[in-house]
């Protein structure tokens, strides 16, 4: 875990890094905007951190929302326990529930991408009376095969295979130092790339980067299967919760096929909004546009005051 932020990061991500202890580990987050504004939880996935949402903070807070961008335990400026067993799906859910409790967030919104989707929604279901809307992008909420990307041997399944995984992902930091930059559509400045990568600079700091892909439950018995099944079985509790789906047709990770399954799982969701010129890290490729769409959706369905 990095205790202090480097100076070069300030202009790119000027918000104060705060932290609280969740389940015995320190979770880092930024918390901007009016205290009484509707809390919007900005949840990233593997291998990114709050930085992914840098284009969202100003539009949300300007519209009166309280923007909370947290780093999952194992990622960003949060603690990085080196142990796989401390970084399971259930841990991340309980960590977010702890944050919701400690910050006493009411009427909150989940904005989730990648693992931010299932982890965010399952945590929100634990506090469902305080949950008010969801914005989901390039993510999933179900077991089974997702796309060719997740079942093809190159590169995904190879990267986190036994023995190869520790070599590629940890020794060579294939994902933590080369992930977001590899599939950007917009292109990234050196500083932006560094912002994603530097949180995994320390040795043994990137256990979560491998735990996450190894937890994707494709067939029964896979790690994460039980939790994803539990989530699937509870989606009917969201019937009254407004849901927006933002998708990138060019995304090879969560494809249009996944979007179809999302529409089935959340049949009351609004008609998906598609963003071209974007792939998996949509918030990075089309940040200001997706932030504006988020504000539009929330203003129209809920409003900033709770």
């Amino acid at each position: 875990m990095l205790k202090t932020r480097p100076d070069w990061l300030e202009p790119l991500f000027p918000w104060r890094q705060r932290s609280i202890v969740v389940n015995g580990r320190r979770m880092s987050y930024i918390d901007e905007g009016p205290r009484g504004g509707r809390p919007v939880l900005l949840l990233s996935g593997n291998p990114t951190w709050g930085f992914l949402y840098r284009d969202f903070i100003e539009p949300l807070t300007a519209a009166g929302y309280r923007a909370v961008a947290l780093d999952w335990i194992g990622a960003g400026y949060s603690d990085h326990p080196p142990h796989d067993a401390a970084l399971t799906f259930a841990h991340h859910v309980a960590d977010l529930v702890s944050l919701l409790d400690q910050l006493d967030l009411r009427g909150f919104v989940i904005v989730g991408q990648d693992w931010g989707g299932p982890q965010g929604i399952l945590a929100a279901l634990q506090r469902v009376e305080r949950f008010s809307a969801a914005v989901l992008m390039s993510t999933w909420l179900f077991t089974g095969t997702l796309s060719k990307f997740h079942s093809s041997p190159k590169p995904w399944t190879t990267w986190h295979a036994p023995l190869i995984g520790p070599y590629m992902m940890k020794r060579h930091k294939a994902l933590s130092h080369h992930g977001p930059t590899a599939i950007t559509v917009r292109g990234m400045t050196g500083g932006e790339a560094r912002a994603y990568h530097h949180v995994y600079d320390e040795p043994e700091s990137d256990a979560v980067v491998m735990t996450w892909p190894r937890t994707i439950p494709v067939t029964e018995g896979d790690r994460g299967w039980q939790d994803m099944k539990s989530l699937e079985s509870r989606l009917d509790e969201l019937a009254e919760i407004p849901v927006a789906l933002f998708w990138a047709p060019e995304d090879p990770v969560f494809t249009m096929e996944t979007l179809e399954r999302m529409k089935e799982a959340l049949s009351h969701a609004e008609k998906p909004v598609l963003f071209d010129r974007a792939r998996h890290f949509m918030q990075d490729d089309r940040g200001p546009d997706i932030a504006a769409a988020t504000v539009e959706f929330l203003d129209r369905r809920l409003g900033a005051s709770t």
Binding site: V22, N23, G24, H83, A85, A86, T88, A90, H91, V93, A94, V97, S98, D101, Q102, R106, L122, A123, Q126, R127, E129, R130, Q226, D227, S230, S233, R234
Partner: protein
């Protein structure tokens, strides 16, 4: 250390959380050997329940060396909920450490000394437990019993008592306190030693400030320890609302201490039925409000005594809560009622029901007819206790002790006398 098998299906509801790692036990081969002898294996998972009723696991791996070579200790928490307060975990791990020092021929005193120096195992951190000021309880109308105090896990648990003989333990629920039973104490204290505790977080009892201090399991544990501390035996349990959710589990797990059960407007949250609309609305309200106006709520919920109850009596229900920070336990109770089968609380409640079915004690189910929340709860208890006696209390709402206090007390007294014959 008493190693056990987890209950069948239990682990599915829990989240194993690694707490202590040791990748090489080989630097102290004699300790590894001692460990193997003590747990009866050189690899595998060995479970125990702690002082705090948390399930822990020691996982050993032998790496083909012919003795345990790696060890990890896991705590098991409710799968998606924040883990319990750190001092509970520290107490439990400290007990494990002392046990290990003992069996490995190390010096437990040295371990304890170091722990002492580092401030372990600590109790509730300073400022983490609130206590409602005594003056809030001055001049309570109809409740001038001198409060007594038991100490449970360093928390003050208040109770009042009256009468002599076999104990009659009366457990209140959400969001009340012992005051709820005041109209029943006079009659019942003639047939036994009435003991009316305030649950932790309620009444004159201490109120931990953090949400993760409270859980269904913690409440069960606190009431069990209260009973153990007063060393109550041959108990007649009288319970309503959460007093039953908690009390019935304590009864199931410690049946030898109980002689009789009178349950009213309560149940066990095993989540077999769908929660009714009144409960869903109540739970939603409780999770969205920041402070419940308990006197107002009582006034609205009463049926028979709605007009008869005095302002001062209603005010007594608000006495324990001078501000929102004192009300955390009351705001959490509705959320802790298990309403889905995959809720860990539902799992333990279903295990308790299995236990209760085997218990053969007199059971009495007096019930009012005007309670939208637990009004239909009697059928589930009748199913568990097919031989239970029943009585109907017309005009009795959810707070039956308030609506029909004397009548209910007289019915229970008659039933106790009846069961003595």
């Amino acid at each position: 250390m008493n190693f056990i098998e987890p209950l069948s299906g239990e682990l599915d509801h829990l989240r194993p959380d690694p707490l202590i790692f040791e990748e090489e036990l080989d630097f102290l081969p004699c300790a590894a050997t001692a460990l193997e002898q003590a747990v009866g294996g050189r690899s595998g998972r060995f479970y125990w329940r702690s002082e705090h009723d948390h399930l822990y696991c020691l996982e050993l791996g032998d790496l083909g060396r012919g003795r345990p070579s790696t060890a990890t200790v896991f705590g098991h928490w409710d799968r998606y909920e924040p883990r319990p307060p750190e001092h509970e975990i520290d107490c439990d791990l400290m007990a494990f450490n002392l046990w290990f020092a003992e069996i490995a021929g190390l010096d437990p005193e040295a371990v304890a000394k170091v722990a002492d120096r580092t401030g372990l195992p600590p109790s509730w951190p300073e400022g983490s437990v609130l206590r409602t000021p005594d003056e809030r309880f001055a001049n309570l109308l109809g409740f001038d019993y001198e409060p007594q105090y038991a100490v449970v896990e360093n928390l003050r648990m208040a109770y009042v008592e009256a009468g002599e003989g076999a104990p009659v333990l009366m457990l209140h629920g959400e969001p009340t306190w012992g005051y709820l039973y005041r109209r029943m104490i006079p009659a019942l204290s003639k047939v036994g030693r009435v003991i009316v505790p305030d649950l932790i977080g309620f009444g004159r009892s201490d109120k931990p400030a953090a949400a993760n201090a409270y859980s269904y399991r913690a409440h069960v544990r606190w009431v069990r320890k209260f009973i153990e501390q007063l060393d109550l035996e041959r108990i007649t349990l009288v319970c309503q609302d959460w007093g039953g959710l908690i009390g019935l589990r304590v009864l199931a797990e410690n049946s030898c201490r109980f002689a009789r059960l009178a349950a009213t407007h309560t149940g066990l949250g095993d989540a077999t039925g769908k929660p009714n609309e009144a409960f869903r609305n109540w739970r939603a309200f409780s999770q969205r409000t920041r402070f419940m106006d308990v006197p107002k709520m009582m006034a609205r919920t009463l049926v028979k005594r709605r007009d008869a109850i005095a302002e001062a009596e209603l005010a007594a229900y608000g006495a324990p809560f001078p501000g929102p920070e004192y009300q955390i336990a009351a705001l959490l109770f509705p959320r802790m009622v298990p309403t889905r089968p995959d809720h860990p609380g539902a799992f333990y409640a279903s295990k308790a029901i299995e236990g209760l079915r085997k218990i053969d004690i007199p059971v009495f189910l007096p019930w009012g007819d005007s309670d939208p929340i637990t009004g239909r709860g009697r059928a589930a208890l009748k199913d568990i206790f097919p031989h239970a006696a029943a009585a109907d209390l017309p005009g009795g709402g959810h707070f039956i002790q308030e609506d029909c206090g004397e009548e209910l007390a007289n019915l229970i007294v008659a039933w106790i006398k009846d069961s003595l014959c």
